[in-house]
Every structure is written in structure tokens, then in C-alpha cells.
Symmetry: C2
Subunit: 110 residues, 2 copies
């Protein structure tokens, strides 16, 4: 991932509502959630949510698919992957092995 894409993703996630939205979608998994469901779950107005969803979409962190009159949103793990990779680039500069403890931390319970 190039720097500008990473920057876009980071600043997209660095905002209260959007971080909530993204995490909600990550937890929702491949089923995703409709915009209305997200709005209700998080207690944000539809138009505000729409604006934030768009920012996440432009950043590549979510994608959407129409489903009847709803639009369903999904977390895009591909971009997440690129972002984490970017953040760890050159992590060992000067001290080989410095990043191992960092990597060890990242485990999940699946």
C-alpha cells in the first residue's frame, strides 16, 4: 500500500463514528449490515452515517451492495491487510527482530 492510501485509511479510522462503524462491520463479518441497521445500532443520523460510510468506502475500508431498497455494507479486510502491512514496513530499522514482539501480539481467537 502506498503512503497516501494508508493516510486515507488512517484518517478515516481516526474518527469516533467511523471507527465504530468499521468495527461493527468487522464484527458483522461477511453478512455485513444495511445502512439503516448501522445507523440504528450506533445512534447516528442517516445522512451523517451516509457521509461517514462514503469516506470509509473511498478509503477502501468498506464496500457496499444494494439489496432491495437497502444498501448493505461490508468491512473490506483486503485494505485492512494492506494498512497493517504498511504500518509494519521497515519496522526493524536499526534493530533486527524489534518487531517480533509486535507481531506476536497480533493473534485472534479463531
Amino acid at each position: 500500500m502506498e503512503k497516501n492510501r494508508a493516510l486515507e485509511a488512517l484518517s478515516a479510522l481516526g474518527q469516533d463514528t467511523r471507527l465504530d462503524v468499521f468495527r461493527l462491520l468487522v464484527r458483522a463479518g461477511p453478512e455485513g449490515k444495511a445502512a439503516g441497521e448501522i445507523a440504528e445500532a450506533l445512534g447516528v443520523r442517516p445522512n451523517t452515517l451516509s457521509s461517514n460510510l462514503n469516506i470509509l468506502a473511498v478509503a477502501g475500508l468498506v464496500r457496499s451492495a444494494r439489496e432491495g431498497r437497502s444498501i448493505r455494507y461490508f468491512a473490506n479486510m483486503e485494505t485492512m491487510r494492506g494498512l497493517l502491512g504498511f504500518l509494519m514496513e521497515d519496522c526493524c530499522g536499526g534493530e533486527p527482530g524489534a518487531c517480533q514482539p509486535v507481531l506476536d501480539q497480533i493473534t485472534c481467537n479463531c
Copy 2:
């Protein structure tokens, strides 16, 4: 890492100059870099840099140590570790194993 700390770190990194500073310090490794060196390397004014360094420090992403009349800054990998862990929390919601490709991506050349 709790959400507010993650949010602080993400929005700190979601800004052009600060992302550059952080990555520079990550690459600098345990030797770190003096504020003046950073300012020169990135071509930012000392006071602007100072403000940005402070934001990174409050977010826990860098720490500093005085050295003569310079102040030397270091990337704080501990916080980085917490942040990555936070972002991957619940990553498998709904689809066990969904996060494995994400984790596989994060390797470094050390």
C-alpha cells in the same frame, strides 16, 4: 488497548506530517532522532514539528529523552503493538479464519 486510545493513535497517524515523522522514527530504530534532525529531514518548521511531536507523544506513539540541548525522539513500538491488536479484535466475527490472510500479510524482513 481501549477504544479511545486507539482513536487517539489513529487520528495522530492519520495526518501527513505525523505519519512521516512516525515512520522516520520507526526506521531510525532505537537510536531515534533529535527534533532538529527530524525537522530538517522532513522539511517542516520547528514549531510545527514540535506541535506534531507532542500529539504523537500524547498518543503514546513516540517518547523522548533530552540529550544535551537536543531532545531525541523514539518510536514507541509498545503502543503500535496495542493498536494493531485492537484493530484485529473480533476480526473473525461470523467467519472463523477470515483474519488469517490478514495476519499472513504482516511479515517483516528481519
